[in-house]
């Protein structure tokens, strides 16, 4: 997977956050402050502009620029968290021109570690971590078992989707939703939903191929 693939992935995310903007914002309205969709749509629009401006040449550079841009344009909780996730992933890819599944798995693990280090959320706290954690380990497992790309990426996206749905029954312990205590139960976490969108887009982009 070269820089174009990752650029295509980010472009797909940008399109999705525009398209799902209201849906994500509504999820946030139920247990937060109704801005998650707006935040991400604004952020990834800025990311596209940045990618246009200085055409990063490697997958790592694409993700690092994506992360830095999110940090300086999004704000809120999701800005620093997603920004750190993409930056850590980018750093872990180094300056390789082409990335294989194993390297991608390592990058996703670095992203997850960055999010948890910054936000101190654990699985079960009803956050994006409940998507990133299971999806990353499912992906790593599939890759370790030597499964082909389609299968491994399917495992990633399906675990992500399942993780997002699982947040519905959780009580939030982190983020704005935690203020609700028990009343946070019964709603899907907006950040979990957006994480599932991003990982679903990763599968679709890679499988679509060049």
């Amino acid at each position: 997977m070269d820089a174009d693939v990752f650029r295509a992935w980010i472009t797909a995310i940008a399109a999705l956050t525009q398209e799902q903007r209201d849906h994500l914002t509504q999820l946030d309205a139920a247990i937060g402050d109704a801005d998650h969709g707006t935040n991400l749509a604004r952020g990834f629009a800025a990311v596209l502009a940045a990618l246009e401006a200085d055409h990063p040449a490697t997958p790592g550079a694409v993700l690092t620029l994506t992360g830095r841009t999110l940090i300086s344009k999004v704000g809120g909780a999701s800005g620093p968290l997603y920004g750190t996730a993409f930056r850590r992933a980018g750093k872990s890819l180094g300056d390789a021109a082409d990335v294989d599944l194993a390297a991608l798995a390592t990058a996703l693990e670095a992203a997850l570690a960055g999010v948890q280090q910054l936000g101190a959320a654990r699985e079960g706290d009803k956050t994006m971590v409940d998507v990133l954690a299971p999806a990353t380990s499912a992906f790593r497992k599939a890759v370790a078992e030597g499964r082909p790309a389609p299968e491994a990426l399917a495992a990633l996206a399906e675990a992500a989707q399942a993780g997002a749905e699982a947040t519905v029954s959780m009580q939030a312990l982190k983020g704005r939703a935690s203020y609700l205590g028990p009343r946070s139960v019964g709603h899907e976490d907006p950040g979990a939903a957006s994480s599932a969108l991003m990982l679903g887009a990763l599968r679709d982009t890679v499988l679509a191929g060049p």
Partner: protein
């Protein structure tokens, strides 16, 4: 949604342009959405920086000026600013004595200010952060995001600003800021939801006669929904909740704050009830504020903030302040 705006995406910059036009004594950086005291940086003076999502006006930009904040960063509506803005504000007010970051306790604000502090550290600017978390509506806990920062922010900014104006060192200014936060509690009530311009419809719906107890300043749901009662009973509920968390005795600084859509007439009715309740409980309202100081766009509702005063805190509260939102003594 009927709003007096040009476009949802421009509300923050347009409002900042208006603030700049109305208050020539402030320097407003529309690029970074940062409001700075005209005379900043003041050599040897600790710089006070706060900021957060917009929609709470006059907080924070309206509290920039003599005796209060040196700079404020404005995020998008209800979204914390980004580290770049906070760094720009920190640089603009750094007079060599260090900079205090006053941060309301929301994950977004915490994370972005934390990153900004790291960036400032790279430039050898000494930064100390104080987190405000006075909202008793939220159960505090080590394992959650903890309590929200609300009304006490106004008091922290005023009192810490007064001490900084006296030339106190960063450690002392940070200490008094923490002291005010620790001695303060707040509780809010919503009669109606606010409507975020970019969303275009109310964040939540309340039935006729239904209110939200413990509402957050971003329209986050609170403790429970119940039926509206008299100003007397409602004030009792609010002060009972505060009193359950902090003894209501001695000299108090009390704010009855309007959420943005509640008339001053009603705020004074509420203050009358608050004053009588506290008097009946043996406390004394030594200082007070009644008005819109930390709002939630067009929400109808109010919050009460109570701070246990000390002689020093009272002296610093009384010290001259000259900002768009709070002014006396000059």
């Amino acid at each position: 949604m009927k709003k007096l705006i040009n476009a949802p995406d421009n509300v923050v910059t347009d409002a900042l342009a208006g603030l700049a036009a109305a208050h020539p004594s402030l320097r407003v950086d529309l690029e970074n959405k940062v409001i700075v005291r005209g005379d900043a940086p003041r050599p040897g003076k600790v710089g006070l920086v706060s900021g957060g999502g917009s929609g709470h006006e006059p907080l924070h930009g309206g509290f920039v000026g003599y005796g209060m904040l040196d700079a404020a960063c404005a995020g998008e509506v209800f979204t914390s600013p980004v580290p770049d803005q906070m760094l720009a504000a920190t640089q603009a007010v750094n007079g060599g004595a260090g900079v205090l970051h006053i941060v309301k306790n929301y994950t977004g604000d915490i994370l972005n200010f934390q990153m900004a502090a790291e960036l400032a550290d790279d430039e050898d600017i000494e930064v100390v952060s104080v987190v405000v978390n006075d909202d008793v509506a939220v159960q505090d806990s080590l394992y959650t995001a903890g309590r929200r920062g609300v009304g006490a922010t106004v008091f922290v900014e005023k009192i810490a600003g007064a001490l900084a104006e006296e030339g106190a060192p960063l450690a002392d200014v940070a200490a008094v800021a923490r002291e005010v936060n620790e001695r303060s509690r707040s509780f809010g009530v919503a009669l109606t939801s606010c409507t975020i311009p970019a969303v275009g419809k109310p964040t939540f719906e309340l039935a006729e006669a239904e209110i939200e107890l413990g509402i957050g300043i971003h329209g986050e749901p609170g403790r429970e929904r119940t039926t509206i009662t008299s100003a007397h009973d409602l004030t009792g509920t609010v002060l009972d909740a505060i009193g359950a968390d902090m003894p209501l005795s001695g000299d108090l600084l009390v704010m009855v704050n309007g959420m943005g859509g509640t008339p001053l007439l009603e705020q004074y009715i509420l203050f009358n009830e608050v004053q009588q309740y506290l008097q009946a409980h043996g406390a004394r309202v030594a200082r007070n504020l009644v008005g819109n100081y930390i709002t939630s766009l067009d929400m109808q509702g109010f919050s009460v903030t109570v701070t246990q005063l000390t002689d020093t805190l009272t002296r610093l509260w009384d010290a001259p302040v000259d900002t768009p939102g709070l002014r006396w003594g000059r």
